[in-house]
């Protein structure tokens, strides 16, 4: 399967367009609006749950269930967002011009930034009740899942083969029917892969989404994440192991009950006929397919869908002729509308910034951002140097790849908080410098994306190509230089883009580490945002988020995207 990177790879230009700037202003503006709203809610609901969670492992199945349900809700919300937002962006060129850059910036905004900003809003939706906090937690999960799914869907929609769309038109399918019968099935394999990646992302932030602490507000929703947070505070090592075990079980169950059946089911939507690996066996799917009960349950739904296709009239066989004048007027109105909103938000941002933030603050945050940038760059380089050869080695050996893939996927989901005890212990006993030795935590979860993309790339190397190299007796360094490394390069770049974006995000959790009473702190933008969050200082939270988004967007634009284009152009097989 062709894995696409989670950045908009369509735009070829490096310099931001007017639409990019508008998008940046809008996203930042919304964050500011939320922040102001949050600030105005006096007396945060600190009374909500002061009660401590129990570390007794007997509670873990219950916690696991709640965590799993939250993730499922987040996934559902992400799907809804994907189907609406991405579809709108792909179908309406007018909207797409703005929506795509907005998505690009949204996914550069650190996930935990969303949390601190939106928590008070959600709490105020259901004052005094747990519902608000639950909504906030689901929202955080949603933000860790939605963007790459939406991007994948958008890119699939843009690449639906024209003959399929035309066939749909010829048969008189209306837009609604075309969407469900042609476009969604076409996008499905790619979307499911991204759902799995999203799930790993959600696990990575499970602690942050459940054990919420912003300013005076401190909430611990019952769940595995809160359990981990409590275990960390109490420095209870056995509890950490219980949590790891629980997580493993939940991931396995998710894999068996949800993802395996989905992957096996989506196999029928693959367009490429050849090179199809056997889908993994999925007993759940087999049971569902064989059972009569399922048929009965599904039949009304099926009927409903069929009926919905009839609701709107059959599509005209000829696409509607756009009236040039009308269209131009519409464009104009759209631009004016956007411009007005942008001007308004810029004005709000300006006010917000002027009130509290000095130029010096900005410089300070930017310099911290630079430190984090250096960390990310060095670590991605190191991770690449390690995992690229390992990935190639594994990818060329299918039996090994089958074993390693799921393990790497599990490690990618591994919340970094679970490693705090080891890290603190090592750094404190050896007297190491936190500024250097906390850094590896940032790539701990994200380096695996490099590994499994490279594995995928190496296993996609055609056998004849490898035979040709052997036949010419190309070995050793010459082989790596001319065959192995170029062969996996496009896959590597995709993995590295994901890893790099994820590492920025992880810096917020990884630059400040605590275990019991010990807290270690590294200098960096992540620590800055974390501090601001704990202090409930909304101005600095917004500043930190803005600076981090800026770094991520710029790096994507000037480095990753050109590299991706180059890889696609030169190294693509076939």
């Amino acid at each position: 399967m062709r894995i696409l990177p989670p950045v908009s790879i369509e735009a070829r230009r490096v310099l931001p367009s007017r639409w990019d700037l508008a998008a940046a202003a809008l996203v930042l503006g919304f964050i500011v609006l939320f922040a102001e709203a949050s600030r105005s809610v006096v007396e945060p609901l600190s009374t909500l749950t002061r009660e401590r969670l129990s570390l007794d492992p007997i509670n873990l199945p219950g916690y696991a269930l709640r965590t799993a349900l939250r993730m499922l809700l987040g996934l559902g919300a992400s799907l809804l967002f994907t189907f609406t937002y991405a579809t709108w962006a792909a179908k309406s060129p007018r909207a797409g011009r703005l929506l795509v850059p907005v998505l690009d910036i949204l996914q550069s905004v650190p996930i935990l930034g969303f949390l601190s900003i939106t928590i008070v809003f959600f709490l105020s939706l259901a004052p005094g009740r747990i519902l608000g906090a639950e909504l906030a937690a689901v929202f955080v999960i949603f933000t860790s899942q939605a963007w790459n799914m939406a991007f994948s869907f958008y890119q699939s929609l843009r690449t639906v083969p024209t003959e399929m769309t035309e066939a749909g038109r010829v048969f008189g399918l209306n837009a609604w029917a075309r969407f469900w019968r042609i476009e969604v099935p076409f996008a499905m394999p790619q979307l499911i892969w991204n759902m799995m990646v999203s799930m790993s992302g959600a696990w990575f932030f499970v602690v942050a989404s459940e054990a919420i602490s912003v300013g005076a507000t401190s909430i611990a929703l019952p769940g595995v994440g809160s359990y981990i947070a409590e275990a960390t505070r109490e420095s209870s090592l056995p509890s950490i192991f219980w949590a790891i075990g629980t997580m493993l079980v939940v991931i396995l169950i998710y894999d068996q009950l949800l993802f395996r059946p989905l992957v096996a089911w989506a196999d029928r939507f693959r367009i490429e006929a050849e090179g199809a690996d056997e889908p993994p066996p999925a007993w759940v799917l087999t049971v569902l397919r064989r059972s009569q009960l399922m048929d009965r349950v599904a039949a009304p739904l099926h009927q409903l869908m069929q009926w919905s296709y009839q609701l709107t009239p059959r599509a005209r066989t000829a696409p509607r002729q756009a009236h040039a004048l009308q269209s131009r007027l519409g464009d104009g109105a759209w631009v004016v509308l956007i411009a007005m909103i942008v001007i308004y938000t810029v004005w709000r941002i300006f006010n917000f910034v002027r009130a509290e933030i000095s130029f010096h603050d900005v410089l300070y945050a930017a310099s911290l951002g630079f430190i984090t940038f250096l960390r990310v760059a060095v670590l991605i380089a190191i991770a690449s140097a390690i995992w690229t050869p390992v990935g190639i080695y594994i990818g060329l050996r299918p039996h090994l790849a089958r074993i390693v893939q799921p393990i790497a996927q599990f490690f990618a989901a591994f919340p970094v908080n679970l490693l705090f005890p080891i890290v603190v212990l090592v750094i404190v006993t050896l007297g190491l410098l936190p500024d250097v030795w906390l850094s590896p935590l940032m790539v701990l979860g994200t380096q695996w994306y490099i590994l499994f993309n490279v594995i995928a790339g190496a296993s996609a190397l055609p056998r004849e190509l490898r035979d040709a190299a052997d036949n010419l007796q190309v070995h050793g360094w010459l082989w790596w230089r001319k065959v192995g490394l170029p062969g996996v390069f496009p896959y590597y770049v995709t993995g590295a883009i994901t890893a790099s974006g994820g590492s920025w995000n992880a810096s917020i959790v990884a630059e400040v580490v605590s275990w019991g009473k010990t807290t270690l702190r590294a200098h960096g933008l992540g620590a800055y945002i974390d501090d601001a969050t704990i202090a409930g200082d909304y101005h600095r939270i917004v500043l930190g988020i803005a600076v981090m988004s800026f770094y991520v967007v710029v790096i994507n634009r000037v480095f990753w995207r050109p590299l991706y284009d180059y890889a696609e152009r030169k190294f693509k097989l076939g």
Binding site: T286, D467, A468, K570
Partner: protein, 430 residues
């Protein structure tokens, strides 16, 4: 002058482990020699293990038994002096034409100046002048395969192995490349001493080879050797050329009839059914029934009429024979009474004839129908029959056999099959 033996393959055996356990025997008791100045063709159906044999000779894989030697030395891994041309060209897309050609020389650790000079000479020889800095994707299929040839020739191998090198090209390009290659070979401009060509195209083998080895499948082995005694350049319309083609056809059908019908023993549950679509069966029957054949046709003639390759035609003819809709005799196919009625019939009548033929001639079809009839639900999982078949044959063969019977059964409306639930049933799918 005594010619040197370049390659000697003796009693080679190769099998692959199957996922379900056990082994799949691909090659058994294979013998062949390649002498200096020869082009030897390995002719057989796809999947008969020819390519596996070529990989063994190239040192890309090891045999489980027997011996392979190259110029008197046992082959252990890839050797200098054996180069290969691939069906899919196998060019590195990120290297230019020149870099692709140079790669093999770089592996030999030659002086950079010499590498460049030799690569340019090879590019020149093979007619790629001016394309040195192009990337493979910029070239047409024919040009890409020329790069494949240049890359193999530049290392000055003694033996050139060719794995269906022309089958991925269109007809004209392939012919052009064949004649160019033969011309260079005959003029002694190629730095090679012998060629081993794997192909499933009979005419190609007769056009290019000095000797043709016929390869059988399951397990693959050399069954006959045929010397092609024609001067180059050979003419496809020459009577002698056509005689050779006919002779090979007869040879191949004779072998196959012998193998598929050991003296009137009816087919049993253990018979492996090669997958042939009912449409192809109907198409061939129609063609044979029509003018100018009137119910009896020469296989090579009808193959070229239908633009089918030999390995596409044989399974169809065999299926017709198995269903008793026709007979195979010495390179001819003759329709039976039922076959003629099938040809004349409407769709429903055809289905009826097909159904009757399946029930009477294919025990597996009758068996499935009986099981479905007996069950109250009139359904049965595919797995049930697969397990039964696997007692008689390998897992892959069982999978193919059942796939064939499902497709035939569906056409004949004998039973239906739902691929999602993997259930066979008597109902028509809703």
């Amino acid at each position: 002058m005594a010619t040197q033996t370049l390659l000697d393959v003796h009693d080679v055996r190769r099998s692959f482990p199957r996922p379900g356990g056990g082994e799949l025997l691909v090659l058994e008791g294979v013998n062949l020699t390649l002498r200096e100045g020869e082009i030897v063709g390995l002719l057989g159906r796809s999947g008969s293990g020819k390519s596996t044999l070529l990989r063994l000779i190239a040192g890309l894989a090891r045999p489980q038994g027997g011996s392979l030697s190259y110029m008197g030395q046992p082959i252990e891994g890839c050797a200098n002096g054996i180069a290969m041309v691939f069906q899919s060209f196998a060019l590195f897309p990120w290297l230019t034409v020149l870099e692709n050609v140079q790669l093999g020389l770089e592996a030999l650790h030659l002086d950079p100046k010499e590498i460049r000079a030799r690569a340019l000479a090879a590019i020149d020889l093979i007619g790629l002048d001016g394309y040195e800095s192009a990337y493979p994707r910029e070239l047409s299929g024919g040009m890409r395969q020329r790069v494949g040839f240049a890359r193999a020739l530049v290392v000055h191998p003694n033996i050139l192995l060719m794995d269906e090198p022309f089958s991925a090209l269109d007809v004209l390009t392939a012919e052009n490349l064949r004649t160019d290659f033969l011309e260079l070979w005959k003029n002694g401009q190629l730095p090679i001493k012998g060629v081993l060509l794997v192909t499933h195209n009979i005419e190609e083998a007769v056009l290019m080879c000095d000797r043709v080895l016929l390869f059988s499948s399951n397990p693959g082995k050399v069954v006959t050797e045929l010397k092609i005694d024609l001067p180059h350049p050979r003419n496809r319309t020459d009577v002698k050329f056509e005689d050779y083609v006919d002779q090979i056809y007869v040879e191949m059908t004779a072998r196959r009839v012998e193998r598929t019908r050991p003296v009137e023993r009816p087919t049993g549950m253990g018979t492996i059914l090669t997958h042939v679509s009912p449409n192809l069966i109907a198409g061939l029957i129609e063609a044979v029934a029509a003018k100018p054949y009137d119910g009896k046709a020469d296989l090579p003639d009808i193959a070229s009429d239908l633009q089918l390759e030999v390995d596409e035609l044989f399974p169809v003819a065999e299926a017709i024979q198995m269903l008793r809709l026709g007979e195979l005799e010495g390179g001819d196919i003759k329709l039976s009474h039922m076959g003629k009625r099938f040809a004349e019939g409407e769709l429903n009548e055809r289905k009826e004839i097909f159904q009757r033929a399946l029930m009477s001639q294919v025990p597996l079809a009758a068996h499935i129908r009986r099981v479905l009839d007996e069950r109250a639900s009139h359904t049965a999982p595919k797995r049930r029959f697969l397990d039964e078949l696997e007692d008689h044959m390998t897992d892959d063969a069982a999978e193919e056999t059942l796939g064939t019977i499902v497709s035939w059964g569906r056409f004949a409306e004998l039973f239906s099959y739902d691929d999602e639930s993997e259930m066979l049933s008597l109902e028509n799918p809703s």
